[in-house]
């Protein structure tokens, strides 16, 4: 009984943390738009800082899209065809969604996390820079992959045990 309550508390906490991360990440769209807009005048008019704007824009993009996958899951905006499934009962659809999370998303994101470990750790250890410009911060793009995979795993766990989590 107590173990069940603990699991529920953990899942609710995961849900809240992911919700907060997604809500924060959406604001990255503003610096992303601004930085990519600035690239052209900086390159052709100012003739300086264009690479810096590009690199910062890449970091903002990587972090934004890393959390966008889970944002889409939470907002139910993923591309899907419900012509047949809309005839299924709500219970069947819930079980299908749980099966999709358990058999698709969870193993995939877990594999991504494990397979990318050497590359991400090595990048983090040396604070890998951008190859072309030498600007610091490239390691954040690799970390974005981990953020994406971790958020997908967390959301999949919440969705599999949804009735307990919310």
């Amino acid at each position: 009984m107590r173990a069940g309550r603990d699991v529920t508390i953990v899942l609710r906490s995961i849900d809240r943390v992911i919700g907060w991360l997604v809500a924060s990440a959406k604001w990255l769209a503003l610096p992303l738009i601004t930085l990519l807009f600035l690239q052209w005048p900086l390159r052709d008019l100012v003739r300086a800082w264009s690479r810096e704007a590009n690199d910062l824009g890449q970091i903002a993009f990587a972090l934004f899209v890393a959390l966008s996958v889970t944002a889409a899951t939470r907002a139910h905006t993923h591309l899907a065809a419900d012509l047949v499934s809309q005839r299924y009962s709500a219970r069947t659809r819930t079980w299908l969604a749980r099966a999709g999370a358990a058999l698709g998303l969870l193993p995939w994101a877990g594999f991504v996390l494990i397979a990318s470990r050497p590359s991400v750790i090595a990048s983090l250890r040396i604070h890998e820079a951008f190859q072309d410009s030498g600007n610091p911060g490239y390691f954040l793009i690799k970390i974005a992959l981990w953020i994406m995979a971790s958020a997908v795993i967390g959301q999949a766990l919440v969705d599999i045990f949804r009735s307990d989590a919310r």
Binding site: L32, V69, A71, T73, A75, H78, A80, S85, G104, L145
Partner: protein, 484 residues
Amino acid sequence: MEWLGLALLALVGAGIILTGLPAAVVLVAVATLGAILGIASGTIEPATLGALSTRLINLFENDLLQALPLYVTMGLLLDRLPVADALYRTSNAILPRKPAAPLVSGMLLGALLGPMNGSVGASVLGLSRVVAPRLAAEGIPAANRQALVAVASTLGVLVPPSLVLILLSDAMLSAHTIAVTTTGRSDRVINTQDIFHAALLPGGLFLVLCLGLSWIAGRNAAHLPAREKLRAGEALLAAVALALLILLLGGVTFGYFYAVEAAAMGAFTMLLTGLGTGRLRLEALNKLLGDAIALTGALFALLLAATTFTMVLRLLGTADLVGRIVSSIPGGDITAVAIVLALIGISAFVLDAFEIIFVIVPIVIPPLLIRVADARWVAVLVLLTLQASFLLPPFGYALMMVRGVLKEPVAFRAMLRALAPFLAAQWLLLLVVLAFPQLTHTGQSPADSTRLPATPMSDAEFNKRLQEMIQIPELPDLEDQNRK
């Protein structure tokens, strides 16, 4: 095990239709199953799957994909700001006061919005909100209204720099790189701008056909449209929006800036306009950005999942099998292209355009380009097929979305009758471009034409190069990465 890949492809189609789960979830679930079967049968070396993380990181740092959130945000901003409304009313005020004017203005608005908001879904939302109620007020039947909104929403697919065009350009660039390296041809690999140029004339022709058909369809409207009373502010807004559009389109077409920069300029300008005019206060901005990240995630998740799935297919040898099948198609280039396009068309019954670009194009287009040298021609034909897929009755994405948004019950037969002239024009254009590849080469430099290798390649050498090209890249050496 190479045939297993084709079975997995069929399983993806069945899974998407029967489970109703997101396509991205079905793709990763089937890819996982394929990887397990591949490892169990000894076809896939478990270590090679490690290359997946490198492939996914490449997506996170892809310059072209930065256009995704920009276009999505632009589409949402267009829906919040009165730009579409001002453009439509200005067009109506300028056109002669005839019964067909509202339909022609609606079609023109679709052509203007398409490149600005990039996605068919965003165009459907915008046109359903701005044009459909006005057409209803003018007495245009529901079937004609829905057909117009659906067709106009797909115009952006062909008019650069749309999102579909940008994503297809990225897929074509990879496919052409494989083809050029495999065959030893000394072609310049096509880029986004080449495909923009190639699509301009066919896109323009389709727009002219659509405007003509709208004019004919509108002649039977119940009555003359009400005289448009345009405010000076609206006319100014329409003029500024039109000027910005021409600037962006012209800038990208003539290479002054990249498509991503053009999208950023559009999004930035509209964001400033929204904030400056007070139409985008904190609460509205919060909601808009929430929608932007969720819609971007839907496309990016599909891309991540398709990258995983196509990697498993390559490891199973399915890409090699498809290459052999395409190279063994009897007949000339046109037959081979027509069969591959038919395959893409059949896929459209199950997959939407983005799924086709991410899953089908990377599998079937590289072997096609190995056989058919004209990458610009193939790219435009794929674009036309994708556009047709949006309007394919009864499940075309644009049709389904229009029905969902407008919520007006229209008999399938009436809808088909209203849509038929546009579908006929679309298929006619597809056949014309298929028969006359030169339509995709206007303004092309002779230096860009295909040149065969000086020494003809032996079959053994050809197969060796093909094998090398379709192999999964090894995990990059960490020492190399450390040098970054």
